[in-house]
């Protein structure tokens, strides 16, 4: 379990360092995905399975997909076709693939030793987190929903085409 933690932490640091030093935005996105998956494995080995699942669903599943959408939108143009072809070459995905394979091996170890000591015994599960969220922290949950609504309205306004400002609208 300790070895799993240190291995996942090393993978997270290595992938993050490679992500911020890439020249191509899509290569950086692949490394950021691996870094977030490694952070999820770190949470799992620390006995926080709810945080690990949220990390994969929200961070790697939703936020990074937004980044992928934007990168794909910005890449539109006559030079997009050869760039797409370049994305399929092994040099693009071999680095993130190896790092993700390390994480997969850790996941196999965790699953095959289920009930053992791979995951911490007294893990803080979703039940405790939910009781805390909707007990003493319920006001903060409402404020977080306000923040999400403000973000939604702001993103919808900013993304709604080229609107002239200063006029009567």
């Amino acid at each position: 379990m300790t070895v799993l933690f240190y291995l996942a932490g090393a993978v997270a640091l290595l992938a993050a360092g490679l992500a911020v030093s890439r020249r191509n935005a899509f290569h950086a996105l692949l490394y950021v995905v691996v870094s977030l998956l490694a952070a999820a494995v770190v949470f799992l080995t620390l006995g926080a399975p709810f945080a690990a699942v949220l990390e994969i669903i929200v961070y790697a599943g939703a936020i990074i997909v937004l980044f992928v959408f934007v990168v794909m939108m910005l890449n539109l143009g006559p030079e997009a076709a050869p760039r797409q072809h370049g994305l399929l070459s092994p040099a693009t995905w071999i680095g993130p693939g190896v790092l993700a394979a390390v994480l997969l091996a850790e996941l196999v170890v965790v699953i095959t030793t289920a009930g053992g000591d791979a995951v911490a015994g007294d893990a803080v599960g979703p039940r405790e987190v939910s009781h805390a969220l909707f007990g003493p922290y319920v006001l903060a949950v409402e404020l977080a929903s306000f923040l999400l609504l403000a973000g939604l309205v702001g993103a919808a306004y900013l993304g709604s085409g080229s609107r002239t400002t200063g006029g009567e609208g």
Partner: protein, 103 residues
């Protein structure tokens, strides 16, 4: 739980991840990479909360993780919408090119 993983080592990983994101914000001039680095920094801060919560076996660390997750989602939605607006004026997304406010 996780008594074998020292608290200092976990916080060391989180702070190193934060430092990598900070270097990315300071060194890269591309706005997309700066947003990605900010995501890495937010992830590192959330990881520090989860590690500290796991050290004492309480749920508060994961509660703060959820709040940071919500904040990151709202931030990235507005940030990417702004990025798309900026990309119409500055196609190469150079952060220094939009340092002034054209009123």
């Amino acid at each position: 739980m996780s008594g074998a993983v020292l608290l200092g080592h976990g916080l060391l990983v989180a702070s190193a991840l934060f430092a990598i994101g900070l270097v990315g914000v300071l060194v890269r001039r591309n706005l997309l990479f700066q947003l990605l680095s900010i995501e890495i920094m937010l992830n590192a801060a959330a990881m520090a909360f989860v590690i500290a919560g796991a050290r004492w076996g309480v749920a508060d660390g994961q509660v703060m993780f959820v709040f940071i997750l919500v904040m990151a989602a709202a931030e990235v939605a507005v940030g990417l919408a702004l990025l798309l607006r900026i990309s119409r004026r500055v196609p190469d997304l150079d952060g220094d090119a939009v340092s002034g406010m054209g009123g």
